[in-house]
Amino acid sequence: MNQAEIHEFLIDFFYKRKATIEYNEQGILKVKLTEELDKRLMNRPFYWQYVKKLGYQGDPMTVTFISDENKKEEKGEWIHYGSPRLEQLFQVIREEGQYTELYQSANSNKRQALHPWLICNLIVRYQGAYTHEEPVSIGVYLINGTMRFKMMDEIMNKDFLTTIPDFCYKIPPIISKNRAIKMINQELSDRIKTKSKTFEQESIELYEKEINMTNQLFQGRDEEDGTLKQNIEQQIQDRLYPKVHLNLVNYGVFYMTEQHSKELMSIS
């Protein structure tokens, strides 16, 4: 997202969350928040606590966001990529978008079945000799356990609804969500282990070199230096020992048409 795109993003964001847009010109957006957004963004818990105690409605704040460099002097809050405010809005999206159950929209008058898939998006974070992150998107067909990668790319341009479309019915999953996630975990771990041999080796070499240096330093020293040595070893372990973290971005159960399901399975 670049600076010029922020304005559109803000309109989208607030429109979707039912805030009232009071003024809108390129780079300046004045919004009247909803109570929920105010509580979430404006950090004034005491206000809301008192208002509720007194039995009042409460008045959510109106905020002006400025995203055009040339209009920085106008009255309002300057918002840019990296600013805490934008991060806060991103965080709202991340939290709201953590889990879902969706149905592929199928515009046909025929009765048709929708097949269950679990889609799980992760960031695999390598930490050791260097840090590196790798996004992974995996789908598991909850009928027979077929697994495929780059799942989001496949469905990005499809339409999904929160309610089941007319004339459609869902096929109940045979594999449970939790079971599917365990399968993902297992598969990913196996792949990581075989794929990251050099990363592992490089990190362990580095780790051992530092640990040896410490051992040499403490050779022949008294016991009382024990905690100091432990601290140093801990620090080296935390920094250099090769670790991989699987961080969950979001996941959900997607019901897809039979045809789409077949396509997805054939190109795994």
């Binding site: 790798e134 990251s196 592992e200 240096m213 620090q235 991989v244 979001n250």
Partner: protein
């Protein structure tokens, strides 16, 4: 030994979500995670800092610390090259990469506020200064001073914490392993660690050993083997064992080597003559015979600054009361100081913001009074001021006052790059002091050429120093950053005292000049220790 895979987030317990997202939000959340993805050997935090542009040497330093030194290093750039910026970017990057959450930043107490605002405003890092009402564990990112932190109950609270990152500014305060400061810091538990100092070696090569023991214990071996290597190195100047090792965990950029263009430095000397009365008094001072050898020189230097400075020092001297009274009444009869008058006149004609540095507090007050008499608003700044007063003074100088009158003490870390005129009302006898003063304005962020003025009284000690030392500064401008350490390796405690001694012992001006020349050439030739500290690339 093998790879650890942490999949806690995929546990059943952490997978409870009752709120269902719609497709758009789900997609957006996914896309956000894609932008954030970091790649090996990238500095990915820069996209979050659109208003910050790093100079090439700074970017280089950040990359080295993160990728080659794995987050533990000594940042030892020369004054004014932006060590704080480098540290800020490194911290930001480690935070963006989710490697660091809990941070302890220890700085001299005069710099706490500055660090706090800089981290918040430049780096959007929610750092807080330690407040007495909250315990240490309540903070994620806390800024405080070593002096506070090392005291109980703070120190045990801190030592119980496990920090992800420790940053120490002005870390040369940790050069002595026997001090409480050092012992305290070496016990703090922290995964990553940055020490910032412009002078990694001030006196002895050992100092780098102790600093390194905090950052990378064992890199330089144990104490005995280190000493042995140093001795070998002294005998064999081709050997670079220590330098090579130190380079592994220390960054040292030097002003002369940074590729970016520095704004120019114009130096101008303003000559002033004493009035006859003043000069007479000056010569009387020269003739005093006191048991203490250096008093004459000291008093002469003082009278070249202001009547007040000289008066104070006579008043506090151990002379008997009658002599004291006599001299004091002589001073009382002197007219306004010629150099001060000239300076005021110059400031007036300059009509721009400027900083005046003096060595004496009495002069500071006198100058402020004199400027005020002439309708010029000035503020003072010295080491005795409390933190908040210092900040207030700098704010006043930035927004209202034309002149800031400062003494050398308390100037550490002062950033005044919005000003580009500096008057050295008294000339410090240690060129390193001069460099530190100039570094206040001639630093990263200065957009204009910097103008430096020396005010010098003709035919006095001022002029002698100018001829002896200042006109030869070019000779050893390359070593100015390490002057102190070179001096001590030569067994000289302070250049100031050395020069005083030379002046005192010499029979003629010629002799003084030759001796000082010799001293300077020894300094500029001395290189063994210097090279070790001069890692950079």
């Amino acid at each position: 030994m093998s790879l650890i895979i942490d999949a806690q987030e995929l546990n059943e317990e952490s997978l409870n979500h009752d709120q269902l997202s719609d497709w758009d939000t789900f997609k957006q959340a996914y896309q956000l995670s894609q932008i954030k993805t970091n790649h090996k050997n990238d500095i990915s935090c820069m996209q979050y800092l659109p208003n910050l542009t790093l100079m090439p040497h700074q970017l280089d330093a950040v990359k080295k610390v993160l990728h080659q030194m794995h987050g533990r290093a000594i940042l030892a750039d020369e004054v004014g090259l932006g060590k704080t910026i480098e540290a800020g970017v490194i911290l930001k990057e480690l935070m963006v990469k989710n490697l660091v959450k809990k941070v302890l930043i220890l700085v001299p107490s005069s710099l706490i506020r500055q660090w706090e605002t800089e981290l918040q405003q430049t780096f959007y890092i929610p750092a807080r200064a330690k407040h007495r009402s909250y315990p240490w564990q309540a903070y994620d990112i806390v800024v405080s001073s070593i002096d506070l932190a090392k005291k109980e109950p703070h120190s045990s609270e801190i030592l119980n914490e496990e920090y992800d990152m420790l940053i120490i500014d002005e870390a040369h305060r940790l050069k002595n392993p026997k001090t409480r400061n050092y012992q305290f810091v070496s016990q703090i538990k922290s995964t990553y660690c940055l020490l910032l100092t412009a002078t990694p070696i001030q006196n002895k090569i050992d100092e780098i050993y102790y600093l390194m023991s905090i950052v990378r214990p064992g890199l330089l071996g144990d104490k005995t083997s280190f000493k042995k290597t140093v001795r070998q190195e002294r005998q064999n100047s081709d050997s670079q064992a220590i330098q090579t090792l130190v380079k592994q965990s220390m960054i040292r950029n030097r002003r002369s080597e940074t590729t970016s263009e520095w704004t120019g430095r114009e130096i101008e000397t303003i000559h002033v003559d004493f009035t006859e009365e003043e000069f007479e008094f000056y010569q009387e001072l020269e003739a005093i015979n006191t048991p203490h050898s250096f008093t004459t020189l000291t008093l002469q230097r003082e009278i070249c600054s202001s009547r007040e400075a000289c008066y104070q020092s006579i008043k506090q001297s151990k002379w008997n009361d009658e002599v004291k009274k006599e001299w004091m009444s002589k001073i009382e009869r002197l007219p306004h100081h010629a150099k001060a008058l000239k300076t005021v006149e110059f400031v007036k004609s300059l009509n721009e913001k400027c900083i005046i540095f003096t060595e004496y507090k009495s002069t500071q007050i006198y100058l402020q009074w004199l400027l005020h008499q002439n309708g010029i608003f000035s503020v003072t700044y010295n080491g005795d001021f409390r933190k908040s007063k210092k900040e207030w003074m700098v704010q006043l100088f930035k927004n209202k006052a034309q002149v800031l009158i400062a003494t050398d003490a308390g100037g550490e870390g002062l950033n005044l790059q919005f000003c580009h005129h500096m008057i050295h009302y008294d000339l410090p006898w240690n060129p390193m002091k001069l460099e530190q003063r100039i570094g206040r304005i001639h630093r990263f962020g200065q957009e204009k050429d910097v103008n430096i003025y020396y005010t010098v009284l003709n035919n006095t000690i001022d002029q002698r120093i100018l001829n002896l030392l200042y006109n030869k500064l070019d000779l050893f401008k390359d070593v100015i950053g390490e002057l102190d350490q070179i001096l001590s390796s030569l067994g000289i405690q302070s250049l100031e005292n050395e020069i005083e001694e030379i002046m005192y012992e010499s029979q003629s001006e010629k002799e003084v000049s030759i001796k000082v020349d010799h001293l300077l050439s020894v300094i500029s030739d001395s290189h063994v220790e210097r090279d070790i500290a001069n890692e950079s690339s």
